[in-house]
Chain length 387, copies 2
Amino acid sequence: MTEQLPYGVFSTGALHRHIGVAIGDQVLDLTSVVDEAALRSTTLNAFLALGRARWAEVRAEITELVADPANRQRIRPYLHPLSEVQMHLPFDVADYVDFYASEQHATNLGRMFRPGEPPLPPNWKHLPIGYHGRAGTVVPSGTAIVRPTGQRKAPDESSPTDGPTRRLDIEVELAFVVGTPSDLGTCIRTADFADHVFGVVLLNDWSARDLQSWEYVPLGPFLGKSFATSISQWVVPLAALEAARLPIGAQDPEPLDYLHDTENWGLDIDFEVQLNGQVVSRPRYRGMYWSPAQMLAHLTANGARLRTGDLFASGTVSGPGRDEVGSLIELTDAGRAPITLADGSTRAFLEDGDVVTIAATAPSPAGGRFGLGEVTGTILPAVPRRR
Amino acid sequence: MTEQLPYGVFSTGALHRHIGVAIGDQVLDLTSVVDEAALRSTTLNAFLALGRARWAEVRAEITELVADPANRQRIRPYLHPLSEVQMHLPFDVADYVDFYASEQHATNLGRMFRPGEPPLPPNWKHLPIGYHGRAGTVVPSGTAIVRPTGQRKAPDESSPTDGPTRRLDIEVELAFVVGTPSDLGTCIRTADFADHVFGVVLLNDWSARDLQSWEYVPLGPFLGKSFATSISQWVVPLAALEAARLPIGAQDPEPLDYLHDTENWGLDIDFEVQLNGQVVSRPRYRGMYWSPAQMLAHLTANGARLRTGDLFASGTVSGPGRDEVGSLIELTDAGRAPITLADGSTRAFLEDGDVVTIAATAPSPAGGRFGLGEVTGTILPAVPRRR
């Protein structure tokens, strides 16, 4: 991670939370080397609020600082090996919205959750469907995930029971971090996407499928998702993704005017999902039906304001191939076709002790691809309820 | 409003935001008369975080201060007429959750949104259904509500259009303000409700029914609600509602253990809904199926943590009578039976310029009933989209 200069919040034995950028296997402490008060904070929020022009200036300054060998002596005291720092949630999350922008994922899930009905609901190709998730349980990569307990009722059970989820799953997503806020009543045009969105993180939308399928009609997912949502520790600026930009695919029917998008925020980002160290899927972001600029335009179409720290996610990234899907429920055909791991064990859904790591890459302007960090989590056993 | 001593945040020409309690038609500035650093803030959040024991001490101190005539001289400089202060959002909202706890409302809405299906979904009597709303668009009473624009498609239209909502509605709700946070992985027992919840506000969950009905399958309400949610300016402590506590009604089937509730948080709170100064409905909270203690236990049943400033609402309060419902869509039978106002005009849904005011009362320990403040808003015309 050199040229992308992602931002994060780190601490060491001696330093409380400082803002830094990752450079190779080191982190550069920005509090002392860049003259910007907003960077002397324990979260990125104040910096995110500065807006696009200042983001660009600071990035240019850091780029120069790092590129010029004459500065090596000057910055040396502010470089820390990544292996020796602890990373934290990079920003305080304001509102968290999750979309559902992969046609393949929505089709796969629709078949499983609503058998006998058309898999895509009638609205799906007219608007990017989304809903609000729980901002307070967004956690940084590395946070252990306790298996959630809750109500679940299988179709063949006559009444629900309370217990640890039996269908703990992942969702591989790309998420967008809002910097510049907007006023109540303002709709953000697709063309203004990069004025408001600072950058991206990788996101794992942990899902308890049995809780979700029992609870979600009619008001949507709630406890099946709200126990934890993991994000990567580094926010990669949009400015680092110029070489990844692509046109989005054809949309039929033509979206309404407010969703019209020519900004090429389709993104050439390739994910890799590892379960206990073994690659089990390689979803590609480029096939997503709705662009993030369309998501943002829709999110604000009713005048809902944006706040610095708002986070919105793409929804599960799934392609047409079995090895391109972003969730276990798709990978294992709702658990009917478990996968076999290298140690000979099988998985329909996650077991206690399992480690899931999602990584991603994007094209570098210099050729080749660079990493966007990773988001990882280990499953811990459920905790019995207190009486 | 004397004995309830509700908390709010006010400013005057001379004072920036201060925390005060309402006493009759005055507000007592607490920053100088109570020795508590958390009260010298521009929001209630630091005070809410202090926890139940300290809430009780401060309430006792204020009660004594106000009750003893010997203190009159001392507090006089810190009393301001309510008519001369400006009120603000009393606390920063962390996560906002909306429940759906009135059987009558859920039945009425189910009939209209899913005709031909059983009006209550199969899960409704097993768990208090809820979903996350947008915390960033919770606004204080008095904030003007701009008619939202968005996608809507009537059943007889072949494709959606983008435009101002044609079915702007209200939802009369009681909402609960979380003070004491909890750790990730902790389920809050119903018996611990009052350790975490500081008090209540009145809430109007403005709803664009046409946007909502088009968007809500399968992930729940989103833009039909997220444009604005109004709350009253004063937070009434639970401590002021002791005389309002009632057992909840019979629940059949018996809820699962984690929802078992003997805490009597059914509440004798009566609402009054005025449209342009005319009372159009009188919903009563006492008929709600799920108690707020059950809502909180469910919200955290999967280990989701609470943060200070979390807000959760009851869902629309509707009783069996036509004059007891908490929304226009129920009051006017989905617009088919408009109501007639005193000026001879009719309303199926809200028109530009309409003023909606929701007030409520609860029993006073001394006999009679006291007011819980009000939540009001005026509808402004839609703003054309920027191109």
